[in-house]
């Protein structure tokens, strides 16, 4: 689990990095909004971001708004770090896209609880996303079956896309995860196998 920190005050940056590392998180530290934005555009996108509200170049609110408008990071879990602590500011922060907030100087217990809440949501999102991918793959397979298949009325061969006539079992094996094991049904046994066996025994 990687956490991005964007904070302009070196003392707060130091204490945050140290606490989060001690809790076992990988931490990426940045000094302002622009630097944080560079990290978010790289391949190494963090799972969670703690953004200071007031920073030079780009503040936390601006960064939050930018994140929400950028497709591959728009669901990044963001926590705003603020000393303001006034209700009006908190509402504003959440309205502009932050998922949560922590007021400075922070209480370690509260910080831990809020980060754990974020981690739970991030993990849930990740597992939901992989479920959706699995379902999309399954749906693509089902779509392969929803086609009109030309079949020979006599020998029951199927004509594929390359205009090639192939046996039903070959066609299905190629298009689905199905394998055939050959046998004889009771009806065919009576109608075909038994008379054949009889012919053989008469010949002998």
């Amino acid at each position: 689990m990687t956490i991005l920190i964007a904070e302009d005050d070196p003392v707060t940056r130091k204490i945050l990095k140290s606490i989060l590392s001690n809790w076992g998180y990988d931490v990426i530290v940045t000094c302002d909004g622009n630097e944080a934005w560079q990290v978010l555009q790289s391949d190494n996108v963090p799972n969670l971001a703690i953004l200071d509200w007031i920073m030079p170049s780009m503040d936390g609110i601006e960064l939050c708004q930018k994140i929400r408008k950028t497709p591959n990071i728009q669901s990044l879990y963001t926590i705003l770090l603020t000393i303001k602590g006034q209700k009006k500011d908190i509402i504003e922060g959440l309205r502009f896209g932050a998922d949560d907030y922590i007021t400075k100087p922070f209480n370690r217990g509260e910080l831990k609880a809020r980060i754990q809440a974020g981690v739970r949501i991030v993990e849930l999102q990740t597992s939901l996303a992989s479920r959706v991918r699995e379902l999309e793959d399954a749906l693509a397979n089902i779509k392969q079956l929803q086609v009109l298949l030309p079949i020979c009325s006599y020998c029951k061969k199927i004509r594929d896309d390359q205009n090639y006539w192939q046996k039903v079992e070959e066609y299905i094996s190629q298009h689905l995860e199905v394998r055939f094991s050959h046998g004889v049904c009771p009806e065919c046994y009576e109608k075909i196998v038994k008379p054949d066996l009889k012919k053989i025994s008469i010949r002998q």
Binding site: P10, T12, I15, R108
Partner: protein, 122 residues
């Protein structure tokens, strides 16, 4: 004993130790960072007052407030907050006086840090 009292007037030591989870080394590193960083902020605040730039005053007073907040240094925090509010309200009538107070309190904070460092070295 007198020294300890002096330290307690400026910093709430128990609160600071709780914040760093008892990690003295981390606290010392934070102090180093603060000592390197704060003169820059102080001169920015001073310039903002001279040039009557209320936005700049608000921003830098806010930053210094956030920084000292980590050390549970309530008196410095309070003065930085009042300067921040002066900047926000664009009313800098008492700013010079508040700045002088901030300078004095900052000096006491740095002394308190020295006492803390010596305590650790013992």
């Amino acid at each position: 004993m007198a020294i300890m009292q002096k330290l307690g007037e400026v910093i709430d030591k128990d609160e600071v130790m709780e914040r760093v989870d008892g990690d003295i080394e981390l606290l010392m590193e934070m102090i180093e960072l603060f000592i390197t960083d704060y003169p820059k902020l102080m001169s920015k605040i001073k310039n903002a007052i001279i040039q009557k730039d209320s936005r700049e005053l608000e921003r830098n007073a806010h930053t210094i407030k956030g920084s000292v907040g980590n050390f549970a240094a309530d008196s410095v925090y309070g003065i930085a907050l009042s300067l921040e509010i002066m900047g926000r309200n664009d009313d800098m009538t008492d700013a010079e006086e508040a700045y002088a107070k901030l300078e004095r309190e900052m000096e006491r904070l740095i002394q308190a840090f020295d006492i803390l460092r010596k305590e650790v070295d013992l």
